[in-house]
Symmetry: C2
């Protein structure tokens, strides 16, 4: 597993999930790290986010404590007290200030967090901290995920190698009952504090905010970036060439993780990239791409391997963006099925059907109105999606 | 079948759908009727809507020609010419002005309308017009519908009985490939032209615009009301008591039809009413109700008969409306499962599970912030939904 200078990781079993599964994880930097965070826009916010948001906003973080199996959401005052207690215990064990501790939870909503069990796992966690355990963290924070998700990139600054390592979980965007989207990005690069938040925000917009499995947004979604400067590079400043390198590395890592989440989408059998171009601007492109990517009809057609462009054109049409129906082109990979809003014929549709048989393909919609472009990543809607979500709690 | 004074109906087989099924229908008023219409907000608009919208806006309509099996959408200039040609042929056959003819289509997108076949059915249609054939119209305009949809109400104005009769189709909200939402309301009441549009708009908002099966909006959606005044009542004027009676009758008819559409939703096994109250205002209530009603996670939980209030509270939270999580109450029928944002306990959840086993039930969410209330009607998301939509064109 890729290592990041000055970061250590640990996992343990706190008996929050079923026996035999690690369900808590710890990320610690040797020194306080500059940090930034992006949090759910859901107005129902889980307790760990209420505790963590102001701490991240203060700009420094040294440790992240994560549990799976319980979201500590809709748990009222007790939930808040539990989140604070666990972070205080960890701070004491690490002999750091509690304001440097972030906490994150994912799992069932509305059930009190078994906080004593989490707290009693803290000594174990602190005892097994190691530099090569990031993959174990990715594994321990899973809920309905069928595989763990890590990604990394390195880049050089004046001969100094810097690493960006990300771990994430999520398989459903988002099923608030048991899953959620969590992402943690660790880098040993020294990064100016004022650069971190815009870089993270932009990368999240083009990755985690450009994927959909079912369109739902959890109470617990959280992405954090910690930059501890242990690579020894000169601190990366905004609007520099180095900032571009760093920004690209963060985006690459988050996009790779985001695509894994779609691929792992509940019941999903296909990963489909929706490229929407020719919109009046990028924002309009994103709205239209999202409309196509979230349409249940489009997603079931993908599952049925049906090159049903009528559903795609309709989803663009009701997205609310500016559209001239007589100028729309649609492609499946390189096969054009619609030119100027009209079918290119049955032969092309037959070719397109072959494209849809692939596990991964691209749908390109060109509105021919301007330069606005955006990509969105989606999955197909399958029997198993219904099965997983209908049977989930039973 | 209920009759409406001065209206006649006919159906025929034009070989647009599979052989042996009626696929075109005609509604004719003995005299030009005052009219109003509500049309899809999709920016990709089918040819029949382009032809019909300005005619309805002009305020008078005498005949409606409808075909199923082909949407005449994404068919370019030829589609427009076809829509105009069929309406011109009908006008000639009925010896009325073409501006008094409305046309509507529903079916496959992107395939040229076999307009000669439709035109050749017009003599048959005109030959079999009869007052008691409204049910046959409801039947002939079906696509994936599993049952035909009609509803009617009568009300009295100074001893004069007036009838409102509606026919509709739709089973999916909306699958643009084959289905769409069409509604036609005929009344023999004399109604002031300026009253018709606001009454229809309001009734559609609280009925067809308050249901969801899959959240998609078709290129062909259309609801028309024709008021021919044959009941002989004094013309109903805006802001009168009679206007209230008329408005209530139209809403009742449309709401009954709308609920039929949800009940007939593709693969649906349950009809669920989402009552959202205590919002800051009615608009906020509608947004939150819609968010719950369209959540794939909530809908699959209904299918799984799982009283999964966490998904409901999350859907309210990400709807964007003002929410205080600590004041939310949630009920399944009369069983309260959430009080002040917290669970009422396992025993209540067990009782709620019994509610979910019913074919019809109500979810009430009270935000306790104001007087805003709105209702939304939805179905469950089932294996059969995926099956119908994945396999549809194959």
């Amino acid at each position: 597993m890729t290592e990041v200078k000055g970061f250590k990781f640990a996992v343990a079993e706190a008996a929050i999930k079923a026996p035999g599964r690690n369900d808590c994880a710890l990320i610690v930097s040797d020194t306080p790290a500059n940090c930034a965070g992006v949090f759910t826009k859901n107005k129902v916010i889980a307790a760990p986010l209420i505790v963590t948001k102001p701490r991240i906003a203060a700009g420094q973080c040294q440790a992240v404590l994560i549990n799976s199996g319980n979201a500590n959401a809709c748990t009222g005052e007790q939930g808040l007290a539990d989140a604070r207690a666990s972070s205080a215990e960890l701070a004491a064990a690490l002999q750091i200030d509690a304001s440097l501790v972030a906490v994150a939870s994912t799992g069932v909503i509305g059930v009190p967090l078994p906080v004593e069990r989490l707290i009693s796992a803290i000594p174990t966690l602190c005892g097994v901290l190691a530099a090569d355990q990031a993959a174990a963290v990715a594994d321990a924070i899973m809920t309905t995920d069928s595989f763990s998700k890590t990604a990394s990139r390195t880049f050089e600054i004046e001969g100094q190698s810097c690493t960006v390592l990300g771990v994430a979980k999520g398989a459903g965007m988002i099923h608030p009952n048991m899953a959620t989207m969590l992402g943690f990005v660790m880098t040993d690069a020294a990064v100016a504090p004022e650069l971190l938040q815009p870089v993270l925000r932009e990368a999240v917009d083009d990755s985690f905010n450009s994927i959909t499995v079912d369109g739902d947004t959890s109470t617990n979604d959280m992405v954090l970036v910690l930059a501890n400067g242990q690579a020894g590079n000169v601190e990366i400043q905004p609007q520099s060439e180095e900032a571009e390198l760093f920004s690209a590395a963060v985006l690459d890592v988050l996009l790779e993780l985001a695509k894994m989440i779609v691929r792992d989408g509940e019941g999903a059998t296909k990963l489909v990239q929706i490229d929407l171009c020719g919109a009046e601007d990028d924002d309009q492109a994103k709205i239209a791409a999202r409309s196509v990517a979230t349409s249940s009809l489009v997603k079931t057609a993908f599952f049925g391997e049906d090159a049903n462009w009528g559903r795609i054109i309709a989803a663009v049409g009701y997205s609310g963006v500016e559209v001239d129906p007589n100028r729309i082109d649609i492609f499946f990979d390189d096969i054009q099925v619609v030119r100027d809003g009209l079918t290119t014929g049955a032969a092309d549709e037959e070719l397109a059907t072959q494209v849809l048989k692939q596990a991964e393909f691209r749908v390109t919609v060109d509105l021919h109105l301007g330069d606005g472009c955006s990509s969105y990543y989606t999955s197909d809607l399958t029997y198993d999606y219904v099965k997983i979500n209908a049977d989930y709690r039973t």
